[in-house]
C-alpha cells in the first residue's frame, strides 16, 4: 500500500531522474531524500507493486514511466538532453511531462526504417505514421516490459 511518504519518495525520484538526465540509483535517491538506501528500496518496492514505477530484478529503477532507465528503440531529444522512452506512447509522454518541444526518434519494427517526429506544442509534425498497441489495456501490467 502506497502512502503519502511513498508518493513523496516517488516525486523526489522523478525530480532526480530529470536533474541527472538518467535513472538515479537507490543510493543517489537516498542522498537526495536524506534517507537510508534500504528505506528507498523498500519504498520503491511498494511503488513498483502499485505500478507507480518499475524496478529491475536487482531492485533498481527500470522505468520511471514515461522514462526508461535502459536504452530502447525509442529515443527523445528534449530539454537539451537525450532520453530513452519505454515505448512510442512514452516517447511522446516525455515531451508532455517535461512540457517542452522535442524530437521523437524510433524505427519501424517491420522495415527497420528510422522514424523521426518533431513535437511542437504537443503536436507531431508528421501525421503519416501510425501507432500500434498489441496488448489490450486489461493486460498491460501482466508484463509491462513486453507491453
Amino acid at each position: 500500500m502506497v502512502d503519502a511518504a511513498d508518493v513523496e519518495l516517488r516525486n523526489a525520484t522523478y525530480a532526480t531522474f530529470v536533474e541527472l538526465g538518467r535513472a538515479p540509483s537507490s543510493a543517489e535517491t537516498a542522498e537526495r531524500v536524506r534517507g537510508e538506501p534500504a528505506a528507498v528500496r523498500a519504498g520503491w518496492r511498494r511503488l513498483h507493486e502499485a505500478h507507480a514505477l518499475v524496478l529491475d530484478d536487482s531492485g533498481e529503477l527500470r522505468m520511471a514511466n514515461p522514462f526508461s532507465a535502459v536504452p530502447t528503440r525509442h529515443r527523445v531529444r528534449a530539454a537539451g538532453r537525450s532520453w530513452w522512452a519505454n515505448c512510442a506512447w512514452d516517447a511522446f509522454g516525455i515531451c508532455a511531462a517535461l512540457h517542452v518541444d522535442g524530437r521523437v526518434e524510433s524505427s519501424c519494427p517491420d522495415c527497420g526504417e528510422a522514424l523521426a517526429v518533431e513535437v511542437r506544442d504537443g503536436r507531431p509534425d508528421d501525421e503519416s505514421l501510425v501507432f500500434h498497441c498489441l496488448v489490450p489495456a486489461a493486460r498491460w501490467w501482466d508484463d509491462i516490459v513486453f507491453t
Binding site: V2, V7, R10, N11, Y14, A15, V18, A50, A52, N65, P66, R73, H74, C87, A88, W89, D90, A91, F92, G93, I94, C95, A96, A97, L98, H99, V104, S106, C108, P109, D110, C111, E113, L115, V117, V119, G122, R123, P124, D126, E127, S128, L129, V130, F131, H132, C133, L134, V135, P136, A137, A138, R139, W141, T147
Partner: protein
C-alpha cells in the same frame, strides 16, 4: 507499443497474428499530453483507474480493447 511507417507495415509485421489497436500519431500525441502531462508536477498523485479510463475516452479510445482492469 511501437510507431510504424503505415498501417500496411503493421499488417506485414503481424504476419497473421491478431492485431491490437492502430491509432494515428496525432491521437497518440494527444493521449500522451493527457496521460503524462502531470507526471513531474510536485503535487502529483496517482491517477485512479477512472481518471485513466476517462483520459482514454477523451481521445476517442473506447471499447473492450481500451478497458482498464
Amino acid at each position: 507499443m511501437n510507431l510504424f511507417r503505415s498501417e500496411g507495415h503493421v499488417e506485414r509485421w503481424l504476419a497473421g497474428r491478431e492485431a491490437g489497436a492502430i491509432v494515428t500519431v496525432a491521437t497518440l500525441a494527444e493521449l500522451a499530453q493527457a496521460w503524462w502531462g502531470d507526471r513531474l508536477e510536485p503535487t502529483w498523485r496517482p491517477h485512479t483507474r477512472e481518471q485513466n479510463q476517462a483520459i482514454l475516452a477523451g481521445v476517442g479510445l473506447t471499447g473492450e480493447f481500451w478497458r482498464l482492469p
